[in-house]
Assembly symmetry: D2
Homo-oligomer: 304 residues x 4
Amino acid sequence: MPGRTFLQQAVPVTFGLKAAHWLGGVVESHAALADHARPRLTLAGAAGTLASLGGEGMALARAMAATAPFDGLQTDGSHAMRGRVGRFAAELAVTATMLGKIARDVSLMMQTEIGEAFEPSAPGKGGSSTMPHKRNPVLCTAILACAMRAPNLAATLIGSGLHEHERAVGGWHAEWEPLFELLRLTGAALNHAVTLVEGLEIDAARMRANLDLTQGLVMAERAAFALAATLGKAQAHHRIEAATKAAIAQRRPLRDVLADDPAIANRLDMAALDAIFDPAGYLGGAGALIDAALARGRAQFSAC
Amino acid sequence: MPGRTFLQQAVPVTFGLKAAHWLGGVVESHAALADHARPRLTLAGAAGTLASLGGEGMALARAMAATAPFDGLQTDGSHAMRGRVGRFAAELAVTATMLGKIARDVSLMMQTEIGEAFEPSAPGKGGSSTMPHKRNPVLCTAILACAMRAPNLAATLIGSGLHEHERAVGGWHAEWEPLFELLRLTGAALNHAVTLVEGLEIDAARMRANLDLTQGLVMAERAAFALAATLGKAQAHHRIEAATKAAIAQRRPLRDVLADDPAIANRLDMAALDAIFDPAGYLGGAGALIDAALARGRAQFSAC
Amino acid sequence: MPGRTFLQQAVPVTFGLKAAHWLGGVVESHAALADHARPRLTLAGAAGTLASLGGEGMALARAMAATAPFDGLQTDGSHAMRGRVGRFAAELAVTATMLGKIARDVSLMMQTEIGEAFEPSAPGKGGSSTMPHKRNPVLCTAILACAMRAPNLAATLIGSGLHEHERAVGGWHAEWEPLFELLRLTGAALNHAVTLVEGLEIDAARMRANLDLTQGLVMAERAAFALAATLGKAQAHHRIEAATKAAIAQRRPLRDVLADDPAIANRLDMAALDAIFDPAGYLGGAGALIDAALARGRAQFSAC
Amino acid sequence: MPGRTFLQQAVPVTFGLKAAHWLGGVVESHAALADHARPRLTLAGAAGTLASLGGEGMALARAMAATAPFDGLQTDGSHAMRGRVGRFAAELAVTATMLGKIARDVSLMMQTEIGEAFEPSAPGKGGSSTMPHKRNPVLCTAILACAMRAPNLAATLIGSGLHEHERAVGGWHAEWEPLFELLRLTGAALNHAVTLVEGLEIDAARMRANLDLTQGLVMAERAAFALAATLGKAQAHHRIEAATKAAIAQRRPLRDVLADDPAIANRLDMAALDAIFDPAGYLGGAGALIDAALARGRAQFSAC
């Protein structure tokens, strides 16, 4: 019996659904970045008028816009209005955050006391000079270090759009290094995340064992819903809450406490109780959601 | 003769082109926000499985997704992956920045020594309790104060996506107030910006007078390009640079200095010189760019 | 045997030392904030000259500075130079972060699978409407939500110091709400942190059990140092590393693997081995460091 | 007569007082950074216990603390509590902002239409490849580009203090590059600011001319205070406000409008009116404040 509180575990979730969420985040970022990465034509001159091209400025801009990679006339003031730079930076930061979220989850699952997932080990990686037993989560660490820096770099790039006139004193120049940094950090996070995900080791038995640590408390919601059909919602919630307290106080499985309560045993027989306390039976649409995420991922990545 | 340096003025730009840039920035933000504002269906349950809906979770989600405002099944993990919140926040901040850029430009044009544009005055607005002559740029001030706060709020919302598992300890809760703040600040900036732009007073004569402050130096690029046709680019640049220094040292119009130089006068007659120094003749594609921006604006806003 | 990697656990640390670190962070912030909170006299007038006070401005300023709460003449340009506001904001954010760090550690220790510490429960706090067993870490959540927002608010307040002349168009006004927010968030975090720390429940037996999960691997550094005395550092590290791998592969205590190795058993008898694997004997200066932190805390807080 | 609004000019301020404010900001930052730069001893070991030093850890720490550059025992948990890093980063950002504020003011004074101050020119610096007349404010630009990036880097460093246990997964590593960046950016801003300030060119005649652009409106506060002595505050404010409007409408000096008003002329003779409209007579404590700032600067810098 693990302790007095059960905060982390609400209802069961499969690792597959967790990974499907990760995939969903990456797919959205991929789609958004692909849109930002389309070639754009910015032809402007010192103050945006194209005057230095003589009378030919607009004709030249139109001709260039009509050529292969450009999708239309884009001499549209991005010289002065830096929204695109800000949006691109924000999407890079969101992407880094999506990757960092994967690393956050893996690093939590890697904790000694949890041990459900592990980043791949590699000879010479993550060791300690004085602690022979140590294997540091170097991939998660690197991804998170990148991801933690990205949002504020994006903020600098959005904020530099508050510049003066057609060319800022400082505002434009403050964009240069942060944009390179963001590209570097997001690219590095992606590179490490691919290694992390491709080599991720999963301990399914440990996942199941950790689920059982609560002695069935994690299934309390399901039991309450099942009882609500005959007892009414309020009464069912009240009874399960009382049984939950008893289970914790007596360090017994919630199922056994419920089985001892005649009012409940009359309504749910042993087979029904056993079924309620099987986490694998309370996964709702997890499978369908995973399928949908995989389909979305295939559609997105097959296009590139 | 204004001074020894001529940094702000590169080549002439019309106020119309500046305003067209403002419009372009607003149009892009409008399009992006309209996309973020589409209704989305997120049906998840405590851990994203829909298990609490019994076997009906996915069917219910699909049925809801098929109804009017939703455009498809959206039970896609936004519970866990907060990229959409980050992107929406970033677009709000970019929008606030686009509006703040308008206020920045107007506040610079309102400077006593420049006096080219003025925010509308209203009785009881912008006065000073001890300085009867004072009219503060209250609209620009309010817009900029909103816009300066927005990027870092967006960074907080992007960064909170680095949360734990299916529901963070703090990460989700850190989103609530900043998102409201961003909506409030961007909405307030927009409200003030509409008042600012609708009532903006322009002093065209002052704009022209300020352009003339450089005694023709602002047309030096054009003169160099005109001379390059007969002198070659390097030689033309060199001669105009020398004439520029002489004009500054002698506090004379650049046109007159050039007219005194036989090598130049041989190549450009007086009428040609006069034409070169007419800023209205060196506006490149400004008119066409304004037309394009207006067309884009009409297309965007007629759709809503 | 918990898993294949042992990242979180380096060498033993006591909960007391962890709490002493928390105290140290709070003490430093208390000292820094007390310095910022000293009354300061800023008497300036519209442009900082005190001209509106006639010839008496400086005399008045000096007289006020000499009165009770002020510690000297402070009419020193904080009207124009906003460094103090930025520093105060940064210290509030650092303070919120120090408190958030406590909440971070507690929330990690509260995980179902770890169960070493628990925030105090209160009737009606942290429950779930559908999950009768759930006890959410509401204090940690609230503290972390405050702490995650504070650094970017401080950045806004530092950055607004880049304003124009004697009074900014927007820069000063952008300070108002963020400063109130920071005070509110840091105060709320402090309020919750006091409740958290005063009611914190500790499960010492579970801490010890979690330490034993590694079957002695957490003491590998100590074993390596002990062997280094007779085997040399490199050879000792090498042997302990090999024994560590064997212990993991065989799922046996590291102590037993070492006892089976004659080269080691010759150098360390059973009593010495047992002593090495007692974590309580490898706490270094933990006790002295706790005493020092407590003394520093008493000195700081007795002064207020 | 410059225009219809007089926002920038409140009451006269001398350039000397503006520069004294700059000095004050730099002096405060110098003092704060000097404090952060004192050597500190952090001796911790892998988890902060000093256990790897055997029984000698605390003795060693105390012995080291007693040696020359350290000012006492500092084995105080900065391994776990990162407040010092956050504070140091914040002070670097505040310093960059103080320097950026100087560049902001200079860049505004350098505007073609204002022309009151100029950054030093250097051959080959700030020119344009196509515009021979252009002299870009390259020092102000470089300083501002550094200063605009600093606050958000500081926020990242403050926020990374929210890390886990004795050593974060990512939080500590996210500190490395941003801290170097902050040192580099603040150092670069300082280097450029020294060049800027040492070579700053001032056009005092232009400053006076710009002050006269308002035709005396900038002295309206003083006139109102002078009249208040005999007319009462409300009545004086009201009359000066009316005269201000008349002066603007008639494009006449405020002094002349007042002289034409018998009610005012009865109370203030011509000599008194002339004195009121001499900006040099309405500088309050500017001189004393400059002296105080210089004294503070000398005290701070003579100590280093």
